[in-house]
Amino acid sequence: MKISMDIELKDIPGQLVLALEPVSGLGGNILSVLHQRDKKTPAGRIPVELVIEIEEKRLERLVEQLEERGVSVVRTGEVSLRESMVVLLIGHIVHSDLGETIDSIDRTGFAEIVGLSLSMPGVDKESSALVTLSALGTKELDEALKILKRTASKKNITIIPPI
């Protein structure tokens, strides 16, 4: 299952590696790490937001192992995608491998394409797609839009984001 986890690290070198090791040790997969070095808690610790994929029964072990290493786990929860936006694409979308474009967003772990409507006027004509993106938060949503923009510009697709 996908888990998002807020942890806090001591402000000394090597702490991030120390926190990530147990995840792979327990067969988990790290999907995203948001390391906010410029933000500190009042106690001088550095907050990090992790999104991981791990078997449900191993989650408790993971939290224990982190606490043993001096990493405090502030919150764990199943990933919920709270922010959404629609984006319109125009171009030879189907020919340019739509699946790959969708995968590149879904692979992030923090964002998904949750809706798609297509309009295909003719085989050699440009088609349009209205894509609904969802993500953990606004920052992740921006990041997902950037990925979509990169993919679109490589494939010569016009992208129309919302205001």
Binding site: L88, I90, S119, S127, I160, P161, P162, I163
Partner: protein
Amino acid sequence: MKTVKISIIGFGYVGAGVAEVIRRKREDIAHKYGMEIKIVGIADLGGIFIDESGLDEAELLKLKTGEKKWERQDNMTTLDLIRDVEHDVMVETTPTNVITGEPGLTHIVTALESGRHVVTSNKGPLALEYSHLVNLAAKQNTELKFEASVGGAMPIISLVRSNLAGNGVLSIQGILNGTCNYILTRMAEEGLPYEHVLKEAQELGLAEADPSKDVEGVDTAVKLVILANAVFGMNATYKDVEMAGITNITSDALQLAEEAGYVIKLIGEVNMEGGLKVRPRLVPKHDPLNVSGTLNVATIKTDLAGDITVIGKGAGPIEAASAILADIISIYS
């Protein structure tokens, strides 16, 4: 009664519009502001007219109908007029050139150096040499005003500077080109293809024979640069704008957007982080930015007043002249 002597450099639609509104509003302006505006010189490619005691606007407007012919008076050049004929405000309304800024740039520099105030609708010089011109005006202790250059009749710059004084402006988003808005509105409402609507806009005189400046976003970008500099104090030029136009928009795409509750508009956006973007965006149907036809609109996001949206006619000789007249009056009140 205070007499304000002006010259009008560039007597096209906008320049003639200025003469027309001065003629129409003479009594109002005298009554409300105790001011009489006299046109002492006009210049255009065709020639020059000068009369230090004031030209007759009705006579000047005959130049536009062909009842009166252009001539060159006293062997003067346009720059001689700006420099040597005694007047207070030069109104610069020559066509915009975004590559060199000329001839407007030289006209404005010459007027400021001669100690004259400048009121202009010309975007090119402002988009290319904004800080140079503003500094020159400050050094000469003269005013440089340009409300008509962005959004025609729609007040943005003076709105932010006067009425919203004290507010921090977070961003400005808007439709600043009526031609693009007309094309996108017609395409969306009638399901017509881009080429067809463009041709229609050209027949109606809403788009030029070479529509690239409008439809590729250049015109919007130039206006955005003026806003970035005037409102956000940036030192941006046209090259700083990330730009995409409307030529790729299909009626299918508009249809798809409509089904999801959106319209597509060419939106210019400038924010305090320094990003300048012109690109088609999805606008929710109920958003105030969804205005149709040739209208312009801008939403100003501020830290105290929240969002303020202004809607108005972005083009047209009388509309542009309205902004120019307001600028002239504001110099003296």
